[in-house]
């Protein structure tokens, strides 16, 4: 058989992507060329086979993982950057409100940073109104340390710990509650007044130390019946947990502090 470059035009012919002269050539060539007719039929069957493939859909877990990856990758918002570079004036006003370190958790120092779980976190106590033990266990669970039943020394204000019900939440279920990257995530936007309060509290926390504290998680909840932010920061070798009042007349008072 003589060489025939019409063979190479057959996909374009099938897709109607040939110009008029090429198309006319193929039309004229096909009746006399069995090889080209067979190839064209094979191409048709192949394209038809490809159409049997369903369009792959991401699963809910894929979508959740994607949004988590985006939240992690987001740069600090402008508000956070402003907070980082803000003057220490407000922070100075806080001198004297000394946070109390929970000595009992020091043993977790090396268990540390890398252990933060992403999938399952234990909830203790009333999720809408944490008592001291509940708040502390919230912190431990977020950083991947086993919860404690021991009374928390030095908690402010002192209160007999009361254990509430225990529940296990998957990442997705827990999302609306506390699994919220502090890097701005608009999947659950917060209102601007809350954002300003949050910025102020973070500015104050950062004013307490020369170390770089990276926002890790936050939650708006209630601590011993006071509206509060639960703020977890990553420091170079540990986590810090700050519970700060959101009540207007005591905004950013430190209600509880712990570190790992």
């Amino acid at each position: 058989m003589p060489p025939h470059d019409e063979l190479d035009l057959l996909s374009g012919y099938l897709d109607e992507e040939l110009d008029q002269s090429e198309r006319a050539r193929v039309d004229a060539h096909l009746p006399g060329c069995a090889e080209c007719r067979e190839t064209l039929a094979a191409l048709r069957a192949t394209v038809s086979d490809l159409k049997t493939l369903p369009t792959p859909e991401p699963t809910e877990q894929d979508s959740w993982a994607l949004r988590s990856a985006i939240a992690r990758a987001r740069k600090p918002s402008k508000a956070w950057q402003r907070a980082l570079f803000a003057s220490g004036a407000v922070a100075a006003a806080l001198v004297g409100i000394i946070a109390i370190t929970h000595q009992g958790s020091n043993k977790h120092e090396t268990a540390g940073i890398a252990a933060a779980p992403d999938h399952t976190v234990q909830l203790y106590g009333d999720a809408q109104n944490f008592d001291t033990l509940g708040a502390h266990n919230y912190f431990l669970s977020v950083i991947g340390v086993a919860p404690t039943n021991a009374p928390i020394p030095g908690a402010l204000p002192a209160q007999a710990p009361t254990r509430g019900g225990k529940s296990t939440a998957t990442n997705q279920e827990a999302r609306s509650f506390y699994t919220y990257d502090m890097a701005e995530s608009s999947s659950e936007p917060i209102d601007s007044a809350t954002r300003r309060q949050l910025d102020r509290c973070v500015r104050i926390v950062r004013g307490q130390t020369q170390e770089l504290l990276t926002p890790f998680r936050y939650e708006t909840s209630s601590y011993n019946s006071t509206q509060a932010f639960f703020l977890i920061f990553k420091a170079p070798s540990r986590y810090e947990f700050w519970v700060m009042s959101r009540a207007t007349d005591h905004l950013c008072d430190v209600l509880y502090f712990a570190q790992s």
Binding site: D8, L10, S11, G12, D15, E17, E38, T39, A41, A42, L43, A45, T46, V47, D49, L50, K51, T52, L53, P54, T55, P56, E57, P58, T59, D62, S63, A65, L66, R67, A69, I70, A73, R74, S77, K78, E184, S185, S186, S187, P189
Partner: protein
């Protein structure tokens, strides 16, 4: 998605409206995932590629000049990311340059389980056996429905290259699916009787 919608979303994103980016994710996630899965063949890889694409977008779209459609941008970035992912995997695992093969996929993931038709499963496997460059052009044209010019923009090659590459890709897949006999001349022809 219209170009006008894209432009408005991008403009909102550049002005700091982060909900605009979430909207961009919602609109393009399925497209990116589908391209990634068909090129990579592995569900976990497709998930990684999809994340990589949108994390790239987070930065890149802040300076996107809108000379091409946003969908074209996603086609291009998703295809490149998926091709890179496959090549890295092949280098790591020493697999054949052109074949993923089912043996490299111990856990095909929910997608291949969801393929109920026997023929579709065969096509799914055959697609994994053609070269990755061929697979990319088949995915963009025959599965995603892009025309030649759009495929050329996504692959950053001339339309003529798309035309010939798509043709060779279909021939390769046709042989894998048994529609064509191997066109390569036999190195050891049958002796004349």
């Amino acid at each position: 998605m219209s170009t006008q919608d894209d432009a408005e979303l991008l403009s909102r994103y550049r002005e700091g409206d982060t909900t605009a980016f979430d909207e961009i994710v919602t609109r393009n996630e399925r497209r990116v995932f589908a391209i990634a899965l068909r090129i990579c063949h592995h569900h976990e890889d497709a998930r990684d590629v999809t994340q990589e694409v949108f994390v790239t977008a987070l930065r890149a779209l802040a300076t996107f000049r809108g000379e091409s459609k946003l969908s074209t941008w996603f086609h291009r970035v998703a295809t490149n990311a998926a091709l890179d992912h496959v090549r890295r995997r092949q280098r790591r695992e020493g697999a054949s340059l052109d074949e993923l093969g089912d043996s490299t996929d111990p856990s095909p993931g929910p997608e291949s389980e969801a393929i109920e038709s026997v023929r579709a499963r065969e096509v799914h496997r055959a697609l994994a056996r053609v070269g990755v460059e061929h697979r990319a052009v088949l995915v963009l044209h025959d599965l995603q429905g892009l025309d030649y010019a759009e495929v050329a923009a996504a692959l950053e090659v001339p339309v003529g290259t798309v035309k010939s590459r798509l043709h060779r890709a279909r021939l390769a897949l046709a042989r894998e699916l048994g529609h064509l006999k191997d066109a390569e001349p036999s190195a050891d022809p049958e002796p004349l009787r």
